[in-house]
Symmetry: C3
Amino acid sequence: MDHLLTESIQKSHLSEGALIAFVPHTTAGITINENADPAVKHDLLISLERKIPFSEGYTHIEGNSAAHIKTTLVGSSVLVPVSGGRLQLGTWQSVFFAEFDGPRRRSLWVTTLSGQPD
Amino acid sequence: MDHLLTESIQKSHLSEGALIAFVPHTTAGITINENADPAVKHDLLISLERKIPFSEGYTHIEGNSAAHIKTTLVGSSVLVPVSGGRLQLGTWQSVFFAEFDGPRRRSLWVTTLSGQPD
Amino acid sequence: MDHLLTESIQKSHLSEGALIAFVPHTTAGITINENADPAVKHDLLISLERKIPFSEGYTHIEGNSAAHIKTTLVGSSVLVPVSGGRLQLGTWQSVFFAEFDGPRRRSLWVTTLSGQPD
């Protein structure tokens, strides 16, 4: 989804600062990780599933507590530096929307903050 | 604690941007999750306790390493978008202070950053 | 690394707001935790290693999936409030670069955002 964030920065005319990508849901998160080999994303999802199994004596009546727990561990927002009007990610980094209870129609809220690089 | 954050925004007169809620402790964190069913919070705390048991051969002499580890996994701050002078949370989202070594008297530091929505 | 972040704030002349310390890698993260007793850092690394073992049937061909997973759990950035031109950390807090696949030469990107305290 990096190109969507890039479009948001272009629209905002932000030159220096940071972008917040915020997920307004409680069973999906957002993270930054490697995009070159799709196996990284696969290993991450499988590992989270092993550590936080779907059924583990939860009390939440909807039955999707595992998705809520993963969301807190992964986080509901990422902050990405912006410099020279461009998203600043490392060579191997991409932003990933992390769906833990889908498929569902989801939203992502973007806010730009002006600042200065080091 | 959403109403406390809302009061901070009102006091700050921030219209567009984001709020940082920062926990200045090392055995308590902060997260965003569902507030409608209190069982979600309960399941989250129980799951963290299962994954990161209080006693597991830690070396930290105070004996509360589990609380420190949970703090790093959950995080010490949340960022919430602000628009139209109001905290922007999803329908089911609330901000939760996550006490892992209490009860204790705790602080929360709020900073507002001006920015613009997408 | 708190003194490096303090230097960045001095260079930026930021008085009120926040600092983002962003790790542009996918096998290293950054976190805030206790610095008084080095055993806390040790217990954190050992616990992460136990929960996310180096070998666990991953598919990523480079073999360092555990480091990628830890990075997502710990996070790629921290946000620290700045007030009175100084980094605002709690009494026991320090910022830690979290190397999960080293030793390697690494970078850290710092951005300062102007804002106001509560």
